[in-house]
């Protein structure tokens, strides 16, 4: 089995379910942000809200949601696995979980050599 580039915690899956339910089961997606203030964090939107870039990299899916990142950012984090977790906190930005006082966050860890050789294709 290939190594996944992205995964989610139980808290993340439950929050995704809660957000979907509040939106008549609309499909959701993620885009990893870079830069200032609230950057370097995953942004969650309804599918169609955010236009995914034609060169953006799809890292995989978490709980049925596609997860994308700009290719320039991917260059520097491709040796790390991202696990999407949830923390209490008041992020700003347009990510849809923020009004709940919760924030998705990316927890990174380096792949082992073996995992790195066997990564899922992008």
């Amino acid at each position: 089995m290939k190594t996944k580039r992205i995964s989610s915690t139980k808290a993340t899956d439950e929050l995704i379910d809660r957000l979907r339910k509040a939106r008549n089961n609309k499909e959701l997606m993620f885009h990893q942000s870079g830069g200032c203030c609230d950057g370097s964090a995953p942004m969650c939107y309804e599918v169609g809200e955010f236009m995914v870039g034609s060169r953006d990299i799809k890292l995989g899916e978490i709980h049925g949601c596609e997860f994308f990142m700009a290719p320039e950012q991917f260059e520097y984090q491709k040796n790390t696995h991202l696990m999407i977790d949830v923390t209490e906190g008041r992020g700003s930005s347009f990510s849809i979980e923020i009004p709940l006082g919760l924030r998705f966050m990316a927890v990174s860890r380096l792949y082992t050599d073996e995992e790195f050789k066997n990564l899922e294709d992008i």
Binding site: C36, C37, D38, G39, A41, Y76, R90, S93
Partner: protein, 498 residues
């Protein structure tokens, strides 16, 4: 000296049309202070109805404000600056509770700069003018400036008052009316400022609507009455703002952060003098504003030949950074602005360790005995190489990544090897070397033998993924107005085509 907690109302309204009004939907959210993670006040959780009301109030005011003479507009901006000066201490203390930064910075940096930005734009609009060209014969061309109308501005939480001034001052100086949405982590100080300015700014010229991005920010950015969007934040939301702007074909100014290099050449150690002392401080400025600055000098590039001696002196200074109660004037670093920010910074510190970067000092949270529930992190210095994630991704905290270089070419290559280009610093005693870096570095602001100075009359804005457009400097006026061309023929004779 330490300051006590300011008295705030239990809840605030939106500031629309010169009055505080409750949100239409009656919803509020808790604004907690990062200093102690306790409730400060309640803030409107606004939506499209409040935005619509604010845009309308803006246009009601624009009928007059857009035609008000620059003499009068300038006088209002000067009165704003005077009122800020008169209330500086109060605002400085509120800003500490709002954002978590230390009071010695709000008193000595945020507040003086806040007043000065209004005073600067009050001044420059009196001294500039459009142009007239005699195009030959009887044809005269005039380029005149006209305000856009109502503009939308969404700001970040690291300088809640100062970033508001950066955007609001030029916009209203140019004759626009503003709908401002502050960041939801730090909504309080701008409301206290509006209380102070209520009798000075004509009703509807500055409107403040609080709320969350998707609920209040989106209706603002997509409102057909909004003629321009200014945004400070991160890249994904920056792209989203551009996408929204395409709906109504309006311009945007985006300020999206950076990973700024701060380069130290060997000549700085030619003498152990005042300039060398300044260079040490120049490096330690990564901890200014708790590292929560878009232009944080978060990558220090040090020439190999001086590395050992220089880093020893630097670490001495970093270890002397006093943490504690942000309200105490001797405290140098306060709280990070929110819990999620705090968690993210700790995650990055872990990534740095995992990637093999060496921790030279710090490397974890700071247990603050005065405020045990606040969000405090030790100033942290990593040594590693430029391909590591802590060298490439903006952490937005007091985390410095240090690496070394052999010569000028290698320094330039490492400095420019980043997807961002907001700021850069170069420290050297060699003027020829200084010039080479000033022109070779790919960034919008090259601090040369200084860092973290933000005068109003110096332009600020990013190269590469750091954004679009400029802030500060009078050139910013043109980002908030139309240029109308008036072409007048004084010739009595027809063209002859028909």
């Amino acid at each position: 000296m330490s300051y006590s907690k300011p008295e705030l109302k239990a809840q605030y309204g939106n500031y629309i049309g010169g009055k505080f009004v409750p949100p239409v939907n009656g919803k509020y959210f808790d604004a907690n202070s990062p200093v102690d993670n306790k409730l400060l006040t309640k803030i409107p959780r606004s939506d499209a109805d409040d935005i619509d009301m604010a845009v309308k109030a803006g246009y009601d005011a624009f009928e007059t404000w857009g035609k008000t003479s620059v003499t009068e507009r300038s006088a209002v901006l000067n009165k704003i600056a005077d009122a800020i000066d008169a209330n500086a201490e109060k605002l400085a203390i509120v800003e500490v509770w709002n954002n978590g930064k230390p009071v010695r910075e709000t008193i000595n940096a945020d507040l003086p700069l806040l007043a000065d930005h209004f005073r600067y734009f009050a001044g420059v609009i009196r001294g500039e003018s459009g142009t007239v060209a005699d195009l030959g014969g009887d044809l005269v061309s005039q380029e005149v400036h006209e305000p856009l109308g109502v503009v939308g501005q969404i700001i970040a939480w690291n300088f809640p008052l100062l970033l508001a001034a950066w955007k609001v001052a030029p916009a209203i100086a140019a004759g626009n009316c503003v709908v401002l949405k502050p960041a939801e982590q730090t909504p309080v100080s701008i409301l206290i400022l509006m209380e102070i300015l209520a009798d000075i700014v004509p009703a509807g010229v500055i409107n403040v609507v609080n709320g969350f991005g998707i609920e209040a920010g989106k209706p603002l950015a997509t409102h057909p009455g909004v003629r321009k969007m200014g945004f400070t934040g991160e890249t994904t939301t920056g792209k989203l703002i551009m996408q929204y702007a395409s709906e109504n074909i309006i311009p945007v100014t985006l300020e999206l952060g950076g990973k700024s290099p701060n380069i130290f050449m060997e000549s700085i150690m030619d003498a152990d003098d005042a300039f060398f002392d300044k260079a040490i401080e120049g490096l330690v400025l990564f901890a200014f504003n708790n590292g929560e600055v878009c232009t944080c000098p978060s990558r220090a590039l040090i020439q190999e030949s001086i590395y050992d001696k220089f880093i020893a002196r630097v670490l001495e200074r970093v270890k002397a950074i006093k943490m504690g109660d942000p309200l105490d004037e001797s405290t140098m670093m306060g709280a990070q602005a929110s819990n999620d920010q705090y968690q993210k910074i700790l995650n990055y510190i872990q990534i740095g360790k995992d990637e093999g970067a060496e921790v030279l000092t710090g490397g974890g949270k700071f247990d603050n005995p005065v405020h045990p529930d606040g969000f405090y992190i030790q100033p942290t210095v990593f040594k590693g190489h430029n391909k590591m994630r802590v060298f490439q991704e903006e952490i937005f905290g007091p985390v410095l990544s240090v690496t070394t270089f052999k010569d000028e070419d290698e320094a330039m290559e490492i400095a420019n090897d980043t997807i961002y280009g907001l700021g850069a610093g170069i420290w050297t005693r060699d003027v020829h070397q200084l010039h080479k870096f000033q022109r070779g570095l790919e960034a919008g602001r090259i601090w040369s033998n200084c860092y973290h100075a933000y005068p109003a009359h110096a332009s600020f804005g990013g190269y590469k993924l750091s954004g679009i457009g400029k802030e500060t400097h009078m050139m910013m006026l043109n980002a908030y107005r139309h240029t109308k061309n008036i072409l007048t023929s004084y010739d009595q004779n027809k063209l002859g085509f028909f």
